[in-house]
């Protein structure tokens, strides 16, 4: 039902834009992949289900000059608001087709559940999914295979849209801080350092996290790769990897909308999004700021107050 209405809206939108971005089936039944609709026929391939995990708004800044339509979930819509705050896109050029989202799946978690067997068929019910593999079929509750971001999700309905497919939903699962952060904060400094060193040591510096990040807009002039200034070298040491992740985290301070793409695309399963989530918690505490919620806001690192209420001077 949603898909039919989505197709209809997309075809409608296509009349005055060059391109609409949506989702289609990927290489197997467990993967969706982005679909770029330029012709009417392409819209036939559109799908909508919890496999639609990608944040399609990533493409918007590079398409700033053309008129495009994009299908967004609640979390993706926050990216658009952040783009608007930073002047990275023109609102008039983007047609936003919002879909209220009940939570998506983490392909990684599903694969673990089915023990990495090749997938033959996947079907969805209201709150569960059934995966058929060569070794039989397995039914999973979608809630149990949510990615981290769905657990702390506060905005299931898009915050900004031109068309809304379906009824707005709202829920708050009451989880403010993700489990990993809580666990880490209960540990000693040495344990935390050991944790991050162990995680970052796996990094192969493919920069997939940076490339998938909608707000890493420097792309080809990223300081992780420039020779002048030479921030990090090509040496394969833990410190270089650590430094790269610091660059990514600090450049997203007060900008990260927690879409979780960095962690999703990481081939080494490094929880790169945790650092940014932690900084966001501080941003909320210090400046009462939540990224990607109000297009009129200014990112906290782009502005200042003469008297900072929440910043106290530190003594030695």
């Amino acid at each position: 039902m949603t898909v039919e209405k989505l197709k209809e809206t997309v075809l409608d939108t296509l009349k005055d834009v060059e391109l609409v971005m949506g989702y289609q089936m990927g290489f197997d039944a467990l993967h969706a992949t982005p679909l770029f609709i330029r012709k009417k026929e392409d819209a036939e391939r559109l799908i909508w289900n919890p496999l639609c995990v990608h944040n399609l708004t990533t493409y918007l800044p590079s398409l700033k000059k053309s008129r495009v339509g994009v299908v967004v979930k609640g979390c993706d819509s926050r990216t658009i608001i952040q783009f608007l705050q930073e002047g990275l896109i023109t609102r008039e050029n983007v047609t936003i087709i919002g879909i209220p989202c009940q939570g998506i799946i983490s392909v990684r978690k599903v694969l673990k559940e089915i023990e990495y067997e090749p997938v033959e068929e996947v079907s969805f019910n209201s709150d569960s999914m059934t995966i058929k593999t060569l070794k039989g079929s397995k039914t999973l509750k979608i809630e149990d295979v949510w990615p981290d971001k769905c657990i702390t999700c506060k905005y299931p309905t898009p915050l900004i849209y031109d068309y809304l497919i379906g009824e707005p939903v709202s829920f708050d699962r009451g989880v403010e801080v993700s489990q990993v952060i809580k666990e880490l904060e209960g540990k000693s400094l040495n344990e935390r350092l050991a944790y991050w060193q162990k995680e970052f040591d796996r990094c192969i510096r493919c920069y997939a996290c940076r490339n998938a990040c909608p707000l890493c807009v420097c792309q080809d002039s990223c300081i992780a790769e420039t020779r002048e200034p030479h921030w990090i070298s090509q040496r394969l040491t833990l410190n270089e990897k650590f430094m790269f992740h610091m660059i990514h985290a600090l450049h997203l301070a007060g900008r990260c909308v927690e879409c979780g793409e960095c962690a999703r695309v990481c081939p080494m399963d490094i929880p790169v999004n945790i650092l940014k989530k932690k900084i966001n918690l501080d941003m909320k505490e210090l400046f009462g700021y939540v990224p990607g919620v109000n297009a009129e806001d200014k990112p906290p690192m782009y502005t200042f107050n003469v008297d900072e209420v929440n910043i106290k001077e530190h003594g030695i």
């Binding site: 350092l193 040491t237 900084i279 501080d282 690192m301 200042f304 107050n305 900072e308 001077e313 530190h314």
Partner: protein
């Protein structure tokens, strides 16, 4: 060097050209005694300091980092230190999450006339780093 003197640690200081660097100079001209562990890097303004400067220093062998600029409202460029204050506070809160003691990083405001205060700050900070000991983040083999 006498045997009693503790081993010198590496502490990097980022000082703004207009206030704190002047303050350090005042302390020098006044011949106030200062610990020798601090290596000062002069920057045009505390707003020039990217939090990554601090991270890079710590990852590359510094045991502590001290940042100092003009007092808020006294910035030579009128608002550089206001931006710096937000960034540095953000970093100060992030460091312990990474497992680096935030006591190793200190930011403060010292004007060009406050030679005495500079001397006190440096002495106290260096003392604190000595109590914490070396950080040793640089020691690592190529994998």
């Amino acid at each position: 060097m006498s045997d009693i003197a503790p081993k010198e640690l590496k502490i990097v200081g980022f000082l703004c050209n207009w206030c704190s660097y002047g303050g350090a100079d005042t302390a020098g001209v006044s011949r106030f005694k200062q610990p020798p562990d601090l290596r000062i890097i002069r920057v045009p303004c505390s707003g020039r300091i990217d939090p990554l400067f601090v991270v890079k220093a710590l990852l590359n062998g510094a045991d502590g980092v001290l940042v100092s600029g003009c007092h808020p409202r006294d910035c030579h460029y009128s608002d550089g230190n206001f931006y710096a204050r937000r960034r540095l506070e953000m970093l100060k809160r992030l460091l312990p999450f990474l497992g680096i003691d935030d006591k190793r990083f200190h930011y403060t405001w010292i004007s060009a006339s406050e030679g005495q205060r500079w001397q006190q700050t440096v002495t106290a900070f260096v003392k604190r780093i000595h109590e914490l000991g070396p950080l040793n983040l640089k020691e690592e083999k190529q994998s």
